[in-house]
Amino acid sequence: MKILAIDTALQAVSACVVDDEDLDFETRETIAMERGHAEALLPLIDRVMAQVEGGFSELGRVAVTVGPGSFTGLRVGLAAARAIGLACEIPVVGVSTLAALAAPLIIHQNPGPVAVAIDARHGNVYFAAFESDGRALVTPRIASAREAAEALRQEERRRETTQLVGSGAALVAIEAEKLGLAVEATAESFVPDIIFVARLGLLGDPDLAPPRPLYLKAADARPQSGSVLAEAAP
Protein backbone atom coordinates (compact mmCIF):
# COMPACT_ATOMS: atom_id res chain seq x y z
CA MET A 1 0.00 0.00 0.00
CA LYS A 2 1.22 3.48 -0.86
CA ILE A 3 0.80 6.21 1.72
CA LEU A 4 1.04 9.97 1.17
CA ALA A 5 2.42 11.78 4.22
CA ILE A 6 2.02 15.52 4.75
CA ASP A 7 3.57 17.82 7.35
CA THR A 8 3.10 21.59 7.64
CA ALA A 9 2.91 21.90 11.42
CA LEU A 10 6.37 23.37 12.11
CA GLN A 11 9.05 25.26 10.15
CA ALA A 12 8.83 23.20 6.96
CA VAL A 13 6.49 21.96 4.28
CA SER A 14 6.97 18.27 3.52
CA ALA A 15 5.32 15.47 1.66
CA CYS A 16 6.37 11.98 0.68
CA VAL A 17 4.95 8.77 -0.70
CA VAL A 18 6.24 5.43 0.55
CA ASP A 19 5.13 1.89 -0.15
CA ASP A 20 5.01 -0.62 2.70
CA GLU A 21 5.55 -3.54 0.31
CA ASP A 22 8.02 -2.06 -2.18
CA LEU A 23 10.58 -0.77 0.31
CA ASP A 24 12.78 0.72 -2.42
CA PHE A 25 10.03 3.06 -3.55
CA GLU A 26 10.15 6.52 -2.07
CA THR A 27 9.49 10.02 -3.31
CA ARG A 28 9.79 13.01 -1.05
CA GLU A 29 10.30 16.75 -0.86
CA THR A 30 10.89 19.06 2.09
CA ILE A 31 11.20 22.84 1.99
CA ALA A 32 12.21 24.67 5.16
CA MET A 33 10.13 27.81 5.75
CA GLU A 34 8.84 30.02 8.54
CA ARG A 35 5.70 31.12 6.71
CA GLY A 36 4.00 30.52 3.36
CA HIS A 37 3.02 26.90 4.04
CA ALA A 38 -0.47 27.41 2.58
CA GLU A 39 0.87 28.56 -0.78
CA ALA A 40 3.69 26.01 -0.96
CA LEU A 41 1.89 22.81 0.03
CA LEU A 42 -0.33 21.95 -2.95
CA PRO A 43 2.33 22.62 -5.62
CA LEU A 44 4.70 20.45 -3.56
CA ILE A 45 2.17 17.62 -3.31
CA ASP A 46 1.63 17.96 -7.06
CA ARG A 47 5.37 17.46 -7.68
CA VAL A 48 5.62 14.52 -5.27
CA MET A 49 2.55 12.80 -6.77
CA ALA A 50 3.91 13.33 -10.30
CA GLN A 51 6.66 10.81 -9.34
CA VAL A 52 4.05 8.18 -8.48
CA GLU A 53 2.97 6.08 -11.43
CA GLY A 54 -0.83 6.10 -11.53
CA GLY A 55 -0.99 9.22 -9.34
CA PHE A 56 -3.60 9.67 -6.64
CA SER A 57 -5.52 6.52 -7.58
CA GLU A 58 -2.54 4.46 -6.33
CA LEU A 59 -2.81 5.81 -2.78
CA GLY A 60 -4.23 3.62 -0.04
CA ARG A 61 -3.90 6.04 2.87
CA VAL A 62 -2.93 9.58 3.84
CA ALA A 63 -0.96 10.48 6.97
CA VAL A 64 -0.76 14.01 8.31
CA THR A 65 0.81 15.68 11.31
CA VAL A 66 -1.91 16.99 13.62
CA GLY A 67 0.33 19.11 15.86
CA PRO A 68 1.25 20.44 18.26
CA GLY A 69 2.71 23.24 16.19
CA SER A 70 1.62 26.39 14.40
CA PHE A 71 -2.19 26.56 14.57
CA THR A 72 -2.49 27.82 11.00
CA GLY A 73 0.25 25.51 9.75
CA LEU A 74 -1.30 22.33 11.08
CA ARG A 75 -4.70 23.30 9.65
CA VAL A 76 -3.13 23.66 6.20
CA GLY A 77 -1.87 20.08 6.28
CA LEU A 78 -5.06 18.75 7.82
CA ALA A 79 -7.31 20.49 5.29
CA ALA A 80 -5.27 19.10 2.39
CA ALA A 81 -5.05 15.58 3.86
CA ARG A 82 -8.74 15.36 4.67
CA ALA A 83 -9.69 16.66 1.22
CA ILE A 84 -7.41 14.12 -0.50
CA GLY A 85 -8.91 11.40 1.69
CA LEU A 86 -12.38 12.51 0.61
CA ALA A 87 -11.46 12.75 -3.09
CA CYS A 88 -9.66 9.37 -3.18
CA GLU A 89 -12.06 7.67 -0.71
CA ILE A 90 -9.18 6.49 1.46
CA PRO A 91 -8.58 6.72 5.22
CA VAL A 92 -6.62 9.58 6.74
CA VAL A 93 -4.60 9.02 9.89
CA GLY A 94 -3.24 11.69 12.23
CA VAL A 95 0.34 11.63 13.53
CA SER A 96 1.54 13.73 16.44
CA THR A 97 4.53 15.96 15.67
CA LEU A 98 5.95 14.94 19.05
CA ALA A 99 5.83 11.24 18.11
CA ALA A 100 7.20 11.96 14.64
CA LEU A 101 10.17 13.85 16.12
CA ALA A 102 10.84 11.08 18.63
CA ALA A 103 10.49 8.18 16.19
CA PRO A 104 13.97 8.27 14.57
CA LEU A 105 15.62 8.23 18.01
CA ILE A 106 13.40 5.47 19.29
CA ILE A 107 14.15 3.31 16.27
CA HIS A 108 17.84 4.00 15.69
CA GLN A 109 19.49 5.19 18.88
CA ASN A 110 20.77 3.45 21.93
CA PRO A 111 18.18 2.50 24.55
CA GLY A 112 16.78 5.03 26.99
CA PRO A 113 13.84 7.38 27.14
CA VAL A 114 13.26 10.03 24.47
CA ALA A 115 11.73 13.39 25.31
CA VAL A 116 10.49 15.87 22.72
CA ALA A 117 10.15 19.60 23.33
CA ILE A 118 8.89 22.00 20.68
CA ASP A 119 9.37 25.69 21.42
CA ALA A 120 5.91 27.15 22.11
CA ARG A 121 7.32 30.63 22.88
CA HIS A 122 7.23 32.69 26.10
CA GLY A 123 9.41 30.05 27.80
CA ASN A 124 6.89 27.27 27.13
CA VAL A 125 7.29 24.03 25.24
CA TYR A 126 5.02 21.43 23.75
CA PHE A 127 6.32 18.38 25.52
CA ALA A 128 6.06 14.58 25.61
CA ALA A 129 8.36 11.73 26.59
CA PHE A 130 8.52 8.14 25.41
CA GLU A 131 10.04 4.90 26.72
CA SER A 132 12.74 3.38 24.57
CA ASP A 133 10.08 1.02 23.15
CA GLY A 134 7.87 3.94 22.13
CA ARG A 135 5.32 3.76 24.94
CA ALA A 136 4.21 7.09 26.41
CA LEU A 137 6.11 8.22 29.51
CA VAL A 138 4.84 11.81 29.72
CA THR A 139 1.68 12.56 27.75
CA PRO A 140 1.63 15.52 25.33
CA ARG A 141 1.19 18.86 27.09
CA ILE A 142 2.13 22.49 26.99
CA ALA A 143 4.33 23.41 29.94
CA SER A 144 7.07 25.75 31.02
CA ALA A 145 10.56 24.34 30.50
CA ARG A 146 10.76 23.91 34.28
CA GLU A 147 7.48 21.99 34.49
CA ALA A 148 8.58 19.79 31.61
CA ALA A 149 11.80 18.93 33.41
CA GLU A 150 9.86 18.17 36.58
CA ALA A 151 7.49 15.87 34.70
CA LEU A 152 10.53 14.07 33.40
CA ARG A 153 11.99 13.68 36.90
CA GLN A 154 8.80 12.06 38.18
CA GLU A 155 9.14 9.37 35.54
CA GLU A 156 12.83 8.81 36.03
CA ARG A 157 13.09 5.31 37.51
CA ARG A 158 16.44 4.17 36.24
CA ARG A 159 19.54 6.28 35.84
CA GLU A 160 19.33 6.28 32.09
CA THR A 161 20.19 9.28 30.00
CA THR A 162 17.14 10.82 28.39
CA GLN A 163 17.58 11.98 24.82
CA LEU A 164 15.99 15.38 24.23
CA VAL A 165 14.97 16.44 20.76
CA GLY A 166 13.11 19.34 19.13
CA SER A 167 13.35 23.12 18.97
CA GLY A 168 12.71 23.39 22.73
CA ALA A 169 15.22 20.68 23.73
CA ALA A 170 17.91 23.13 24.84
CA LEU A 171 15.39 25.01 27.03
CA VAL A 172 14.32 21.84 28.82
CA ALA A 173 17.90 20.51 29.05
CA ILE A 174 18.95 23.56 31.09
CA GLU A 175 16.10 23.03 33.56
CA ALA A 176 16.67 19.25 33.68
CA GLU A 177 20.34 19.69 34.55
CA LYS A 178 19.37 22.03 37.37
CA LEU A 179 17.28 19.15 38.73
CA GLY A 180 20.20 16.78 38.37
CA LEU A 181 18.67 14.72 35.58
CA ALA A 182 20.83 12.93 33.05
CA VAL A 183 19.77 14.37 29.71
CA GLU A 184 21.35 14.84 26.35
CA ALA A 185 19.96 17.40 23.88
CA THR A 186 20.38 15.92 20.45
CA ALA A 187 21.25 18.17 17.55
CA GLU A 188 18.56 16.60 15.38
CA SER A 189 16.37 18.54 12.98
CA PHE A 190 13.64 20.66 14.51
CA VAL A 191 11.06 19.37 12.03
CA PRO A 192 9.82 15.79 11.65
CA ASP A 193 11.47 13.57 9.07
CA ILE A 194 8.54 13.11 6.67
CA ILE A 195 9.44 9.44 6.09
CA PHE A 196 8.78 8.80 9.78
CA VAL A 197 5.41 10.55 9.51
CA ALA A 198 4.60 8.07 6.74
CA ARG A 199 5.84 5.08 8.76
CA LEU A 200 3.85 6.10 11.83
CA GLY A 201 0.88 6.69 9.54
CA LEU A 202 1.14 3.11 8.28
CA LEU A 203 1.20 1.80 11.86
CA GLY A 204 -1.62 4.03 13.11
CA ASP A 205 -5.29 3.17 13.20
CA PRO A 206 -7.41 5.85 11.48
CA ASP A 207 -10.20 5.25 14.01
CA LEU A 208 -7.92 5.74 17.01
CA ALA A 209 -5.76 8.47 15.48
CA PRO A 210 -8.20 10.66 13.56
CA PRO A 211 -6.89 13.60 11.51
CA ARG A 212 -8.00 16.20 14.07
CA PRO A 213 -5.88 19.10 15.33
CA LEU A 214 -3.85 18.63 18.51
CA TYR A 215 -3.50 22.28 19.56
CA LEU A 216 -2.75 21.68 23.28
CA LYS A 217 -3.64 25.33 23.78
CA ALA A 218 -6.98 27.13 23.86
CA ALA A 219 -7.72 29.95 21.44
CA ASP A 220 -6.64 33.27 22.90
CA ALA A 221 -9.97 34.97 23.65
CA ARG A 222 -11.87 36.18 26.68
CA PRO A 223 -15.63 36.18 27.09
CA GLN A 224 -17.08 39.66 26.78
CA SER A 225 -17.55 41.90 29.78
CA GLY A 226 -20.85 43.60 30.58
CA SER A 227 -22.60 46.24 28.54
CA VAL A 228 -22.14 49.97 29.04
CA LEU A 229 -25.48 49.93 30.81
CA ALA A 230 -24.05 47.62 33.46
CA GLU A 231 -20.99 49.88 33.77
CA ALA A 232 -23.18 52.97 34.05
CA ALA A 233 -25.40 51.41 36.71
CA PRO A 234 -24.53 52.40 40.30
Partner: protein, 352 residues
Protein backbone atom coordinates in the same frame (compact mmCIF):
# COMPACT_ATOMS: atom_id res chain seq x y z
CA UNK B 1 -21.81 22.52 -15.91
CA UNK B 2 -21.62 21.72 -12.20
CA UNK B 3 -19.38 23.38 -9.64
CA UNK B 4 -18.77 22.79 -5.92
CA UNK B 5 -18.45 25.98 -3.88
CA UNK B 6 -16.77 26.31 -0.48
CA UNK B 7 -17.17 29.30 1.86
CA UNK B 8 -15.14 29.80 5.07
CA UNK B 9 -14.33 33.52 5.18
CA UNK B 10 -16.13 34.35 8.43
CA UNK B 11 -18.33 32.41 10.85
CA UNK B 12 -20.28 30.13 8.52
CA UNK B 13 -18.82 26.94 7.11
CA UNK B 14 -20.63 26.25 3.84
CA UNK B 15 -20.50 23.94 0.83
CA UNK B 16 -22.88 23.73 -2.11
CA UNK B 17 -23.24 22.28 -5.60
CA UNK B 18 -24.77 24.50 -8.29
CA UNK B 19 -25.58 23.47 -11.82
CA UNK B 20 -25.74 25.68 -14.91
CA UNK B 21 -28.66 24.48 -16.99
CA UNK B 22 -28.88 24.88 -20.77
CA UNK B 23 -30.28 28.35 -21.38
CA UNK B 24 -28.12 29.92 -18.68
CA UNK B 25 -30.22 29.47 -15.54
CA UNK B 26 -28.56 28.32 -12.35
CA UNK B 27 -29.94 25.54 -10.20
CA UNK B 28 -28.88 24.92 -6.60
CA UNK B 29 -28.50 21.15 -6.18
CA UNK B 30 -27.40 21.38 -2.55
CA UNK B 31 -26.58 24.13 -0.09
CA UNK B 32 -25.09 23.14 3.27
CA UNK B 33 -24.39 25.80 5.89
CA UNK B 34 -23.12 25.34 9.44
CA UNK B 35 -23.20 28.50 11.49
CA UNK B 36 -20.74 29.03 14.33
CA UNK B 37 -22.90 31.60 16.14
CA UNK B 38 -23.02 29.44 19.28
CA UNK B 39 -19.22 29.17 19.45
CA UNK B 40 -18.76 32.95 19.27
CA UNK B 41 -21.77 34.09 21.34
CA UNK B 42 -19.88 34.25 24.65
CA UNK B 43 -17.33 36.61 23.11
CA UNK B 44 -19.87 39.04 21.61
CA UNK B 45 -18.28 38.76 18.17
CA UNK B 46 -16.37 36.48 15.85
CA UNK B 47 -13.04 35.29 17.31
CA UNK B 48 -10.75 34.46 14.35
CA UNK B 49 -8.93 31.51 15.93
CA UNK B 50 -12.18 29.96 17.18
CA UNK B 51 -13.67 30.40 13.69
CA UNK B 52 -10.70 28.71 12.01
CA UNK B 53 -10.89 25.81 14.48
CA UNK B 54 -14.58 25.31 13.79
CA UNK B 55 -14.07 25.37 10.00
CA UNK B 56 -11.43 22.60 9.95
CA UNK B 57 -13.55 20.51 12.30
CA UNK B 58 -16.52 20.20 9.93
CA UNK B 59 -15.60 21.25 6.40
CA UNK B 60 -14.77 17.88 4.83
CA UNK B 61 -17.96 16.29 6.20
CA UNK B 62 -19.98 19.26 4.97
CA UNK B 63 -18.51 18.86 1.46
CA UNK B 64 -19.35 15.15 1.54
CA UNK B 65 -22.92 16.00 2.54
CA UNK B 66 -23.26 18.65 -0.17
CA UNK B 67 -22.16 16.09 -2.78
CA UNK B 68 -24.48 13.46 -1.33
CA UNK B 69 -27.50 15.80 -1.25
CA UNK B 70 -26.79 16.89 -4.82
CA UNK B 71 -26.55 13.20 -5.81
CA UNK B 72 -23.23 13.78 -7.54
CA UNK B 73 -19.68 12.53 -7.10
CA UNK B 74 -16.55 14.65 -7.38
CA UNK B 75 -15.97 13.06 -10.79
CA UNK B 76 -19.29 14.54 -12.01
CA UNK B 77 -18.15 18.09 -11.29
CA UNK B 78 -16.63 20.53 -13.78
CA UNK B 79 -14.79 22.61 -11.23
CA UNK B 80 -14.16 23.31 -7.57
CA UNK B 81 -14.45 26.85 -6.25
CA UNK B 82 -13.56 28.38 -2.90
CA UNK B 83 -13.77 31.86 -1.45
CA UNK B 84 -10.14 33.00 -1.28
CA UNK B 85 -10.95 36.29 0.50
CA UNK B 86 -11.62 38.87 1.69
CA UNK B 87 -12.14 37.60 5.22
CA UNK B 88 -10.45 36.07 8.24
CA UNK B 89 -7.24 34.51 6.98
CA UNK B 90 -7.29 31.43 9.23
CA UNK B 91 -10.69 30.35 7.96
CA UNK B 92 -9.99 31.29 4.35
CA UNK B 93 -6.87 29.07 4.38
CA UNK B 94 -8.96 26.08 5.51
CA UNK B 95 -11.50 26.46 2.69
CA UNK B 96 -8.96 27.37 0.04
CA UNK B 97 -6.62 24.49 0.89
CA UNK B 98 -9.52 22.03 0.97
CA UNK B 99 -10.73 23.16 -2.47
CA UNK B 100 -7.25 23.09 -3.99
CA UNK B 101 -6.58 19.58 -2.65
CA UNK B 102 -9.97 18.32 -3.89
CA UNK B 103 -9.22 19.82 -7.31
CA UNK B 104 -5.68 18.41 -7.44
CA UNK B 105 -6.67 14.91 -6.33
CA UNK B 106 -9.65 14.73 -8.70
CA UNK B 107 -7.92 16.56 -11.58
CA UNK B 108 -10.59 19.27 -11.83
CA UNK B 109 -10.16 22.98 -12.49
CA UNK B 110 -9.82 25.12 -9.37
CA UNK B 111 -11.44 28.55 -9.18
CA UNK B 112 -10.50 31.11 -6.51
CA UNK B 113 -13.54 33.30 -5.88
CA UNK B 114 -13.71 36.76 -4.35
CA UNK B 115 -16.34 36.48 -1.60
CA UNK B 116 -17.67 39.95 -2.48
CA UNK B 117 -17.95 39.01 -6.15
CA UNK B 118 -19.97 35.97 -5.12
CA UNK B 119 -22.39 38.24 -3.22
CA UNK B 120 -22.45 40.58 -6.23
CA UNK B 121 -23.34 37.81 -8.72
CA UNK B 122 -25.98 36.06 -6.57
CA UNK B 123 -28.80 38.03 -8.23
CA UNK B 124 -27.86 36.43 -11.54
CA UNK B 125 -28.31 32.99 -9.94
CA UNK B 126 -31.65 33.86 -8.34
CA UNK B 127 -33.15 36.27 -10.89
CA UNK B 128 -30.98 36.07 -14.01
CA UNK B 129 -30.48 39.84 -13.99
CA UNK B 130 -28.40 41.33 -16.81
CA UNK B 131 -25.39 43.63 -16.30
CA UNK B 132 -25.07 46.44 -15.33
CA UNK B 133 -26.73 46.80 -11.94
CA UNK B 134 -26.27 48.58 -8.63
CA UNK B 135 -25.21 46.41 -5.69
CA UNK B 136 -25.77 47.40 -2.08
CA UNK B 137 -23.59 45.07 -0.04
CA UNK B 138 -24.34 45.34 3.68
CA UNK B 139 -23.06 42.78 6.18
CA UNK B 140 -21.11 42.51 9.40
CA UNK B 141 -17.87 42.99 7.53
CA UNK B 142 -18.78 45.04 4.46
CA UNK B 143 -20.79 48.11 3.58
CA UNK B 144 -20.51 49.34 0.01
CA UNK B 145 -22.31 50.45 -3.13
CA UNK B 146 -20.88 48.89 -6.27
CA UNK B 147 -21.66 49.21 -9.97
CA UNK B 148 -21.59 45.64 -11.29
CA UNK B 149 -20.68 45.92 -14.98
CA UNK B 150 -19.65 42.33 -15.69
CA UNK B 151 -17.84 39.33 -14.21
CA UNK B 152 -14.64 40.76 -12.74
CA UNK B 153 -15.69 44.28 -13.76
CA UNK B 154 -16.73 46.40 -10.81
CA UNK B 155 -16.72 50.05 -9.91
CA UNK B 156 -16.92 50.81 -6.22
CA UNK B 157 -19.07 53.91 -5.91
CA UNK B 158 -18.82 54.28 -2.16
CA UNK B 159 -18.16 52.39 1.06
CA UNK B 160 -18.06 52.86 4.81
CA UNK B 161 -15.26 55.00 6.14
CA UNK B 162 -15.34 53.24 9.52
CA UNK B 163 -17.60 50.41 10.75
CA UNK B 164 -19.79 48.11 8.68
CA UNK B 165 -23.56 48.38 9.19
CA UNK B 166 -23.87 44.87 10.60
CA UNK B 167 -20.96 45.60 12.91
CA UNK B 168 -22.79 48.71 14.20
CA UNK B 169 -25.89 46.59 14.91
CA UNK B 170 -23.76 44.09 16.82
CA UNK B 171 -21.95 46.79 18.80
CA UNK B 172 -25.18 48.59 19.72
CA UNK B 173 -26.68 45.28 20.84
CA UNK B 174 -23.60 44.59 22.94
CA UNK B 175 -23.71 48.00 24.66
CA UNK B 176 -27.43 47.55 25.41
CA UNK B 177 -26.84 44.12 26.86
CA UNK B 178 -28.63 42.24 24.05
CA UNK B 179 -27.35 38.82 22.98
CA UNK B 180 -25.09 38.12 19.99
CA UNK B 181 -25.62 38.32 17.02
CA UNK B 182 -27.14 41.70 17.60
CA UNK B 183 -28.83 42.47 14.28
CA UNK B 184 -32.01 40.40 14.78
CA UNK B 185 -32.14 41.39 18.49
CA UNK B 186 -31.99 45.12 17.76
CA UNK B 187 -34.66 44.68 15.07
CA UNK B 188 -36.88 42.75 17.50
CA UNK B 189 -36.54 45.42 20.20
CA UNK B 190 -36.96 48.23 17.65
CA UNK B 191 -40.36 46.86 16.68
CA UNK B 192 -41.59 47.68 20.21
CA UNK B 193 -39.92 51.09 20.50
CA UNK B 194 -40.46 54.70 19.55
CA UNK B 195 -38.17 55.63 16.62
CA UNK B 196 -38.63 59.39 17.26
CA UNK B 197 -37.67 59.50 20.94
CA UNK B 198 -33.93 59.93 20.32
CA UNK B 199 -32.76 62.24 17.58
CA UNK B 200 -29.67 60.35 16.40
CA UNK B 201 -27.46 61.77 13.62
CA UNK B 202 -27.85 60.68 9.99
CA UNK B 203 -24.17 60.49 9.03
CA UNK B 204 -23.12 61.56 5.51
CA UNK B 205 -26.64 62.88 4.82
CA UNK B 206 -26.76 64.69 1.49
CA UNK B 207 -23.15 64.05 0.49
CA UNK B 208 -22.67 63.42 -3.24
CA UNK B 209 -20.16 60.59 -2.82
CA UNK B 210 -22.15 57.58 -1.59
CA UNK B 211 -19.99 56.74 1.40
CA UNK B 212 -21.22 55.51 4.78
CA UNK B 213 -20.14 56.29 8.32
CA UNK B 214 -21.33 54.50 11.45
CA UNK B 215 -18.98 55.39 14.28
CA UNK B 216 -20.62 58.76 15.13
CA UNK B 217 -24.06 57.18 15.24
CA UNK B 218 -22.75 54.38 17.42
CA UNK B 219 -21.23 56.89 19.85
CA UNK B 220 -24.50 58.85 19.94
CA UNK B 221 -26.36 55.68 20.96
CA UNK B 222 -23.75 54.94 23.62
CA UNK B 223 -23.99 58.44 25.10
CA UNK B 224 -27.79 58.39 25.08
CA UNK B 225 -27.77 54.99 26.79
CA UNK B 226 -25.34 56.13 29.47
CA UNK B 227 -27.44 59.22 30.26
CA UNK B 228 -30.37 57.04 31.26
CA UNK B 229 -30.23 55.92 34.88
CA UNK B 230 -30.90 52.13 34.92
CA UNK B 231 -32.77 51.92 31.60
CA UNK B 232 -36.03 50.01 31.36
CA UNK B 233 -37.05 47.66 28.59
CA UNK B 234 -38.93 50.59 27.05
CA UNK B 235 -35.79 52.72 27.04
CA UNK B 236 -33.81 49.95 25.33
CA UNK B 237 -36.62 49.47 22.78
CA UNK B 238 -36.69 53.22 22.06
CA UNK B 239 -32.90 53.32 21.68
CA UNK B 240 -33.05 50.39 19.24
CA UNK B 241 -35.93 51.90 17.26
CA UNK B 242 -34.26 55.30 17.02
CA UNK B 243 -30.93 53.74 16.03
CA UNK B 244 -32.56 51.57 13.36
CA UNK B 245 -34.49 54.57 12.00
CA UNK B 246 -31.22 56.48 11.60
CA UNK B 247 -29.65 53.48 9.81
CA UNK B 248 -32.64 53.18 7.45
CA UNK B 249 -32.54 56.91 6.63
CA UNK B 250 -28.81 56.72 5.95
CA UNK B 251 -29.14 53.63 3.74
CA UNK B 252 -31.80 55.28 1.61
CA UNK B 253 -29.95 58.60 1.34
CA UNK B 254 -26.71 56.79 0.43
CA UNK B 255 -28.50 54.52 -2.08
CA UNK B 256 -29.98 57.60 -3.72
CA UNK B 257 -26.51 59.15 -4.02
CA UNK B 258 -25.19 55.81 -5.33
CA UNK B 259 -27.89 55.56 -7.99
CA UNK B 260 -27.25 59.15 -9.10
CA UNK B 261 -23.53 58.41 -9.46
CA UNK B 262 -24.26 55.11 -11.25
CA UNK B 263 -26.42 56.88 -13.85
CA UNK B 264 -23.76 59.56 -14.31
CA UNK B 265 -20.83 57.18 -14.70
CA UNK B 266 -22.37 54.04 -16.23
CA UNK B 267 -25.80 54.94 -17.62
CA UNK B 268 -28.98 52.91 -17.33
CA UNK B 269 -29.27 50.69 -14.29
CA UNK B 270 -31.03 47.32 -14.71
CA UNK B 271 -31.72 46.74 -11.04
CA UNK B 272 -30.76 47.40 -7.48
CA UNK B 273 -29.45 44.26 -5.81
CA UNK B 274 -29.06 43.78 -2.07
CA UNK B 275 -26.60 41.32 -0.58
CA UNK B 276 -25.20 40.58 2.87
CA UNK B 277 -26.74 39.64 6.18
CA UNK B 278 -28.15 43.12 6.91
CA UNK B 279 -30.40 42.57 3.88
CA UNK B 280 -32.44 40.31 6.15
CA UNK B 281 -33.54 43.32 8.27
CA UNK B 282 -37.25 43.93 7.64
CA UNK B 283 -37.18 47.71 8.14
CA UNK B 284 -34.32 48.06 5.65
CA UNK B 285 -36.04 45.76 3.14
CA UNK B 286 -39.28 47.78 3.34
CA UNK B 287 -37.46 51.10 2.96
CA UNK B 288 -35.44 49.88 -0.03
CA UNK B 289 -38.54 48.55 -1.68
CA UNK B 290 -40.20 51.99 -1.25
CA UNK B 291 -37.08 53.73 -2.58
CA UNK B 292 -36.86 51.50 -5.67
CA UNK B 293 -40.59 51.98 -6.33
CA UNK B 294 -40.13 55.75 -6.31
CA UNK B 295 -37.00 55.54 -8.47
CA UNK B 296 -38.54 53.19 -11.04
CA UNK B 297 -35.86 50.64 -10.30
CA UNK B 298 -36.22 46.86 -10.14
CA UNK B 299 -35.29 45.67 -6.64
CA UNK B 300 -33.74 42.24 -6.21
CA UNK B 301 -33.65 40.97 -2.65
CA UNK B 302 -32.34 37.41 -2.66
CA UNK B 303 -33.90 35.13 -0.02
CA UNK B 304 -32.23 35.55 3.39
CA UNK B 305 -30.30 32.25 3.17
CA UNK B 306 -28.63 33.53 -0.03
CA UNK B 307 -28.07 37.04 1.43
CA UNK B 308 -25.97 35.71 4.28
CA UNK B 309 -22.76 33.78 3.62
CA UNK B 310 -23.34 30.52 1.76
CA UNK B 311 -21.66 28.06 -0.57
CA UNK B 312 -24.14 28.38 -3.44
CA UNK B 313 -22.98 31.91 -4.22
CA UNK B 314 -19.36 30.71 -4.33
CA UNK B 315 -20.30 27.83 -6.64
CA UNK B 316 -22.28 30.21 -8.89
CA UNK B 317 -19.39 32.71 -9.07
CA UNK B 318 -17.22 29.69 -9.94
CA UNK B 319 -19.62 28.83 -12.79
CA UNK B 320 -19.57 32.42 -14.07
CA UNK B 321 -15.76 32.51 -14.03
CA UNK B 322 -15.28 28.99 -15.41
CA UNK B 323 -17.67 29.81 -18.28
CA UNK B 324 -15.28 32.60 -19.23
CA UNK B 325 -12.27 30.28 -18.95
CA UNK B 326 -11.07 31.94 -15.73
CA UNK B 327 -9.33 29.32 -13.59
CA UNK B 328 -6.57 29.49 -10.98
CA UNK B 329 -3.57 27.38 -10.07
CA UNK B 330 -2.34 25.66 -6.92
CA UNK B 331 -0.17 28.61 -5.86
CA UNK B 332 -3.14 30.96 -5.35
CA UNK B 333 -2.69 32.68 -1.98
CA UNK B 334 -5.50 33.63 0.40
CA UNK B 335 -6.28 37.34 0.19
CA UNK B 336 -7.61 38.65 3.53
CA UNK B 337 -8.00 42.06 1.82
CA UNK B 338 -9.35 41.84 -1.69
CA UNK B 339 -11.34 44.83 -2.95
CA UNK B 340 -13.83 44.11 -5.72
CA UNK B 341 -12.72 47.19 -7.57
CA UNK B 342 -8.93 47.04 -7.88
CA UNK B 343 -8.85 50.73 -8.90
CA UNK B 344 -10.69 51.95 -5.82
CA UNK B 345 -8.51 53.82 -3.36
CA UNK B 346 -7.53 51.72 -0.39
CA UNK B 347 -9.86 52.31 2.53
CA UNK B 348 -7.73 53.88 5.25
CA UNK B 349 -9.33 51.72 7.94
CA UNK B 350 -8.46 48.55 6.06
CA UNK B 351 -12.03 47.28 5.87
CA UNK B 352 -13.36 46.54 2.41
Amino acid sequence: MRVLGIETTCDETAAAVVQLNPGGAGEILSNEVMSQIAEHAAYGGVVPEIAARAHIEVLDRLVARALYDAKVKLADLDGIAAAAGPGLIGGVIVGLTTAKALALASRKPFIAVNHLEAHALTARLTDGVEFPYLLLLVSGGHTQLVAVKGVGDYLRLGSTVDDAVGEAFDKVAKMLGLPYPGGPEVERMAAKGDPTRFDFPRPMQGRAKPDFSLSGLKTAVRLAAQRIHSPSQTDVADLCASFQAAIVDMMIDRSRAGLRLFRERIGDCNAMVVAGGVGANGAIRRALSRFCGESGLRLILPPPQLCTDNGAMIAWAGIERLSLGLVDDMTFAARPRWPLDSNAEAAHHGKA
